[in-house]
Structure formats: structure tokens, C-alpha cells
């Protein structure tokens, strides 16, 4: 298990959002095409499909490269990722001309701290478990 530590870190990082993406995509597809919600989600779907899992993988590579030997908390490091993803996701919606519904914008101040907490927990327990299994941490 000593070979390719960064590749293993990348794979451990992308595993969780990749599995979760299946659930999210199914939900979005049902909302859009079964319930005919008039939101052109497919225009912005590239962000959760491509950018987010890769960001997780690269974030875990950064952790394994610089922080694992310093025993820095994986939960805290992973919990900081929404601070990059949230503005990134917002920029994507603006660039692609996607109008965010008002009721979603209204709860944005609550969504960021909630996202930080969720990321903290998921990184601490799920990614941490995968890292341990793959001999990264």
C-alpha cells in the first residue's frame, strides 16, 4: 500500500460525492421531468457533476500531501471546502444565466453554515474512513 499515495487520496476523495451524485441526479431528474418543475437545471448540472467530485479528490490530495503528517483535522479541512465551492457554484449559475429561485436565495445565509457543518461531518467520518482503509491517514 505504499504506491501512488496521491492517486489513492484522490480516489478516496471523489468516492463520497460520486455515490451521492447518483441520488442527487435521480432527485433532480424526477423533479424536472416527472413533476415538470420549470427550472432549466440541466444548464448548470455540470457543476455538481464535474467540478464538485474533482474538487473533493483534489482537496483530499492536498490534505494527504501537506496536512496528514501534521495531524491536522480532516473534518475541519474538509469543512472549509464549501468556502470555495459556494462562490464557485454561484459564479457558474451567473455565467450560465441561471435564475436562482427567490426562496432558495432567501435561505442562503443559513445554507452556508449548514453546508460547512455537513461537509465537516462527511469529511470527518466518511472520507476519514476511506482514507484509513486506503492507508492514507
Amino acid at each position: 500500500m505504499n504506491k501512488h499515495p496521491y492517486l489513492r487520496a484522490y480516489l478516496a476523495g471523489i468516492a463520497v460525492p460520486t455515490v451521492f451524485l447518483l441520488i442527487v441526479m435521480s432527485a433532480y431528474t424526477i423533479i424536472r421531468y416527472v413533476y415538470a418543475v420549470p427550472l432549466p437545471i440541466e444548464r448548470i448540472i455540470v457543476f455538481p457533476m464535474a467540478a464538485v467530485p474533482n474538487a473533493w479528490g483534489l482537496w483530499n490530495v492536498l490534505y494527504s500531501a501537506f496536512l496528514v503528517k501534521r495531524h491536522f483535522s480532516l473534518g475541519l479541512f474538509g469543512g472549509a471546502l464549501p468556502l470555495l465551492l459556494a462562490p464557485g457554484g454561484y459564479v457558474v449559475t451567473r455565467l450560465l444565466g441561471f435564475t436562482i429561485p427567490d426562496h432558495v436565495l432567501a435561505v442562503a445565509p443559513f445554507a452556508l453554515p449548514v453546508g460547512l457543518v455537513i461537509y465537516y461531518l462527511v469529511w470527518k467520518y466518511f472520507v476519514g474512513f476511506l482514507n484509513a482503509e486506503l492507508g492514507i491517514a
Binding site: Y28, H103, V104, V107, A108, L121
Partner: protein, 73 residues
């Protein structure tokens, strides 16, 4: 098949099927098993439970944030 070929096949079979006579494991697996059994299960501290409860309450109070969070997960 002449005698020489028969000997060659016998030699090749012995060379490539060596494990048939070896019924012992190369190493003892029991210490590894004990080590695995002794590992503590994952335990969540109380503050992580509190965070999880807080997030759940906020989801119930503000369900509008769920699509935004799903978009970023």
C-alpha cells in the same frame, strides 16, 4: 508421446502446480484477526451529534436550502 515428452510434461506440471501439496498458510492470520477485532468502532463525540441535530432542525425549518446544498454536494 515419447518418454522424453512425458518427462517434460511431468516437469512442467510440477513447476506450475506447486501449491497442491502445500496446505499450510504462509503466515499466521490470527494476530491480524485479533487486531481487527480489538479496533474501536467509530464513536461520535457529543458535539458532532449536536451539530447533526442542529442541521436536521434547520432543514425542517428552512427546506428551501436543501436544493442549494444538494447543488454543492
Amino acid at each position: 508421446m515419447n518418454e522424453r515428452e512425458r518427462e517434460e510434461i511431468k516437469r512442467l506440471l510440477k513447476e506450475f502446480v506447486p501449491a497442491a501439496g502445500q496446505t499450510e498458510l504462509g503466515r499466521d492470520l490470527w494476530p491480524t484477526m485479533l487486531k481487527r477485532l480489538e479496533q474501536q468502532p467509530i464513536r461520535m463525540p457529543w458535539w458532532d451529534w449536536a451539530l447533526l441535530a442542529g442541521v436536521t432542525v434547520l432543514f425542517c425549518l428552512f427546506p428551501g436550502m436543501i436544493p442549494a446544498l444538494l447543488y454543492h454536494l
